[in-house]
Symmetry: C2
Subunit: 319 residues, 2 copies
């Protein structure tokens, strides 16, 4: 009997779950809401029950499942599967791996959510099997995952890949959620892009973004990307500023780790070529020529499936 892997991607609002073949194809995928009441104590039970219900629905026995891999937000001890603190979920000092194994009867591997997305893209997405990969996720924040020789790196205390908190503006930068200032997250996240554009157009009625800001009372990164497509000067200025800083961060990191693929994911990456062409120009400007030659800059292709697919890869490789 061909067995399936279970990939789980835990977010603050929804939990994505999928049954996935050993060569990385999704057989079934679905979502359940994340129940964060009572410090997240129902989550593990919800996941297990949902998996068993889905098996029943597909008329498959529990033995059909080989192992589970899961991504979760927060600081995770990879060896023990212990979560120190997951702010959005409510877990603190929580033995996630053990609890999941008890509830499902499966061997479980857990990792950080940004890391499993990078692994997913490496395995079945834009990474195309490249074993040296840098993934940068531009969403509400800026996340990252670094793969070296086919394995995600965790560093000495699980902090590797915290690309969002690389300092781009050493003095006088905007405040970051991490407590520092001037992190690339304050510039290249959806929030950062909107902030920078807002500062530019607040007193500039000649920009199309001025009207949007006036009417809606706020700007979104999506508005900026659309205006840039339509050659709005303030929107283009904003993307130039953002890609200058992000290109520099990626080039500097690449001079250190020399990736073969650089995958840009998250909502902001949907801005497409308006963003990517500028980013590539800045990356090539600041990377060593041979480092730039070795790297392909590309947009993530798995979208919301990257996490569950990366989870399945983890499960497979820890069997």
């Amino acid at each position: 009997m061909e067995k399936w892997l279970v990939g789980v991607d835990l977010g603050g609002t929804t939990i994505k779950i999928a049954f996935i073949t050993f060569d990385g194809h999704i057989v079934a995928k679905w979502e359940i809401p994340t129940n964060i009441s009572e410090d997240g104590k129902h989550i593990v039970k919800n996941i297990a029950e949902s998996i068993f219900a889905k098996l029943e629905q597909l008329a498959e026995p529990r033995g059909k499942l080989a192992a589970m891999g899961m991504g979760a937000p927060g600081f995770i001890d990879m060896k023990t599967g212990f979560i120190y603190h997951a702010v959005n979920i409510g877990w603190r000092d929580y033995a996630l791996k053990d609890e999941l194994e008890k509830a499902t009867g499966l061997t479980v591997t857990v990792d950080n959510d940004a890391n499993i997305a990078a692994i997913g893209e490496m395995w079945r997405g834009a990474g195309d099997g490249e074993g040296n990969l840098l993934m940068v996720t531009l969403g509400t924040g800026v996340g990252g995952g670094i793969i070296v020789n086919g394995h995600i790196i965790h560093g000495t205390n699980g902090m590797a890949g915290e690309i969002g908190h690389i300092t781009s503006i050493p003095e006088g930068g905007a405040s970051c959620n991490c407590g520092k200032t001037g992190c690339i997250e304050t510039i290249a996240s959806a929030t950062g892009i909107a902030r920078i554009a807002k500062e530019k157009v607040l007193h500039d009625p000649s920009s199309s973004l001025y009207e949007i800001l006036k009417n809606k009372g706020e700007l979104k990164a999506k508005d900026v990307a659309e205006a840039a497509e339509n050659r709005d000067h303030a929107a283009i200025d904003t993307l130039n500023e953002v890609t200058f800083h992000l290109g520099l961060v990626i080039a500097n990191l690449s001079n250190g780790i020399n990736p073969g693929k650089i995958v840009i994911g998250g909502g902001v990456s949907k801005a497409g070529s308006t963003l990517m062409s500028r980013l590539e120009k800045q990356f090539k400007r600041f990377a060593l020529p041979r480092v730039a030659e070795g790297a392909t800059l590309t947009v993530a292709t798995l979208g919301n499936d990257a996490g569950v697919i990366g989870g399945a890869w983890l499960a497979k490789h820890n069997l």
Copy 2:
């Protein structure tokens, strides 16, 4: 019979060679000049002859040697041991590993010289066995080596660890040998420190460096470090500027790879606490708190022996 490893560290002027035990202790070490005449064609033969002569001198048979590991400057293909181009030596498209194996009868592993120094420090020096290590060598240039999970990383085309060419001044920085501008090598190398100090004191007779510059016609990084120890304001300004940029580079890279040890080597590291206390302050300012907590910043301890010891480690681990 206890066997020995051979570590070789090839430089543009001298070749360092050592016999080293399997637990990393040097039994014998010596140097021979690097004969770069005729595009370096005599080097391999010189190394082999010197090793055999030393064995004879120690009254040991050739079978005493188990394997050889060697560091060389330039771009090296790790799998084949092929050197694309070693500027200072004259080799171009040179099958170093094969030639050494033919000449010595030993299994040979080759790697970049900055990388074997990092491995040496990890094994027997300041790295103290830490498997996640960042080494930064501040000499005439700025070199680097990154160790992840106990192994040096090479990246997709052998360029990993090119820390010296991380861009510190994106616009208007000094020209670098690599063709770019504003690389950290133009700031934190011995050459960079001397250049920055010179600019500061050229018209400032109140600095003690002004006299040195006037009398000798030039400044050295060593002069700057000594003057800073004596509280010369221009020398202190220079070190503040240098450690601001270097601390930022190291913090940014550390937010990516999360090392447990950061080892500073090379001639400039001899400036000691004048340099290191400032560097640590800037590193902690720009690193994520948990990244800073996980990392110890320390000066390399093996000096010129790091390369041969790292070479022996390579030899041992490829047996």
